[in-house]
């Protein structure tokens, strides 16, 4: 099935109906495995003790926060360049998810920062740029809500998403460019990860679980958005038909 076949919302909905139970089951299974590994098999850190386990939530959430925005950027290209009808549905559905993952990584990060760095918050490059990302998600959601026509709102939001995408490389490389409190990248590196496999494996399983969670929620949100738009279209059609009915009854009474 080519991606252009998915342009038909009905076909997309039936595909979602088939895929969703499997993906949900897979997501629950990988969360079970990932949580078990991160709580029981992963060793304590020799310096950080049990608090290192925050990492298994914090790091995947931070990855997802950026992946969400990347998906929104691709969807915005789909809206503006190819005018794919589901692209702006995908972008709109991803925004609240991205905001939630960003919020989760900020909260878990500050909970982890308190025992490790002695403070909940510092104005370090990575933290600040993620906070900016969070504000951008909220701004995009606000823009979507203030515009009534979903097509128009989708285009406006797509432009803003693409402009904001300039922030993504800044977040990714902020820890390498500015040497501040946050530690540099240790998993996604050119010369391979620098952390021990005992910690790396639970982290990767959790990353898969989080990604599946995102996919499941994203598909659900897209389905809801399509249905919401159908309801809107039906209501508009009903509202357009009603004056004619009223006029017809008046004429019949005369």
């Amino acid at each position: 099935m080519a991606i252009i076949d998915l342009a038909n919302p009905t076909r997309f909905l039936s595909l979602v109906r088939v895929l969703l139970p499997w993906l949900t089951a897979l997501c629950v299974a990988s969360f079970a495995a990932g949580l078990y590994m991160s709580f029981f098999t992963a060793p304590e850190d020799y310096q950080q003790g049990d608090t290192v386990r925050i990492m298994y939530i914090h790091v995947p959430a931070a990855w997802l926060a950026m992946m969400c925005y990347s998906i929104m950027t691709l969807s915005s290209l789909g809206t503006l360049v190819w005018k794919h009808p589901l692209a702006d549905v995908s972008a709109k559905a991803a925004a609240p998810l991205g905001a939630a993952f960003t919020f989760m990584s900020l909260v878990t990060g500050s909970l982890w920062g308190k025992p490790m760095w002695g403070t909940y918050w510092v104005w370090d490059a990575r933290l600040t740029s993620v906070l900016v990302l969070f504000i951008m998600y909220l701004g995009l959601m606000a823009l979507w809500r203030t515009m009534e026509d979903p097509i128009k709102a989708g285009k406006a939001a797509a432009i803003l998403t693409l402009v904001g995408a300039l922030n993504l490389p800044i977040i990714k490389f902020s820890v390498d460019w500015w040497n501040t409190l946050h530690q540099p990248a240790s998993v996604m590196r050119m010369d391979g990860p620098t952390i021990h496999p005992d910690i790396l494996w639970p982290l990767l399983v959790m990353a898969i679980a989080f990604t599946l969670l995102f996919v499941v929620l994203h598909l659900m949100a897209m389905r809801n958005e399509i249905l919401r738009r159908r309801v809107r279209a039906l209501r508009m059609r009903a509202a357009a038909a009603r004056p004619a009915i009223a006029r017809a009854t008046v004429q019949a009474a005369e």
Partner: protein
């Protein structure tokens, strides 16, 4: 500059100067922001001298945001935006010319007022020169980035507040490098030129991205 662009520039300038003194209200607001800070922080002159460049930059950012919602909204209300769209000139250039006129009318007065306000904040002459120079280079970037937000919210009835929320995250890099260049001129370790050149680069990037995105947003808002 071709004929239509010159005419558009002239029109924008006239409107900015003649309609209700709109251009200078930004400077007045700038003065108000700078006046409020010593009341909030206490009148410690050493502290004010240290954070002076930052206060001036934040004041300039807020004043720019305040004036931006008029950039396209007024033209949309009286219908001239539609005429500009239908005139068939490249919309990116139209946005660029409008930004230029808007900056000359509202941004440049801020830059001109900065040295005077800097005296209130007890800045030494080198710092005054540095902060004025960074504002001169950086405020066009604020206007150009703001044009994106102004174009996106042009159809909304109460778009001003939303515009500020959308623009501020995009303007943060300009603020960071503007302030750090002004600070670098006074206190040693980093040379002034490094952050200053990045600030110049940000303005040039904004001169490309701003008109492109703004024009696209206006096109979508019109149909």
């Amino acid at each position: 500059m071709t004929g239509w662009a010159g005419a558009l520039l002239q029109r924008e300038m006239r409107l900015a100067v003649r309609v209700g003194g709109g251009a200078l209200i930004g400077v007045l607001f700038f003065l108000a922001v700078v006046t409020v800070v010593p009341f909030g922080m206490g009148p410690d002159l050493n502290l004010l001298a240290r954070i002076g460049p930052a206060i001036l930059w934040i004041g300039a950012l807020l004043s720019t945001l305040l004036g931006l919602d008029r950039l396209f909204q007024a033209d949309r209300e009286d219908g001239s935006l539609d005429l500009v769209l239908m005139a068939g000139q490249p919309l990116e250039l139209v946005v660029l010319v409008k930004c230029l006129a808007h900056w000359v009318a509202t941004g440049f007065p801020l830059v001109a007022a900065a040295p005077v306000l800097a005296i209130f904040l007890n800045l030494d002459p080198v710092a005054i020169g540095a902060v004025t120079l960074t504002l001169l280079v950086g405020t066009p970037a604020l206007t150009l980035i703001g044009a994106i937000g102004a174009a996106l919210t042009v159809t909304l009835r109460r778009g001003g507040l939303l515009m500020a929320v959308l623009v501020v995250p995009l303007a943060i890099p300009v603020l960071i490098f503007g302030v750090s260049a002004a600070d670098a001129a006074v206190s040693e370790p980093v040379p002034f030129l490094t952050p200053f050149l990045i600030l110049c680069a940000l303005t040039l990037i904004a001169a490309v991205v701003g008109p492109l995105a703004g024009a696209a947003a206006l096109r979508f808002a019109s149909d």
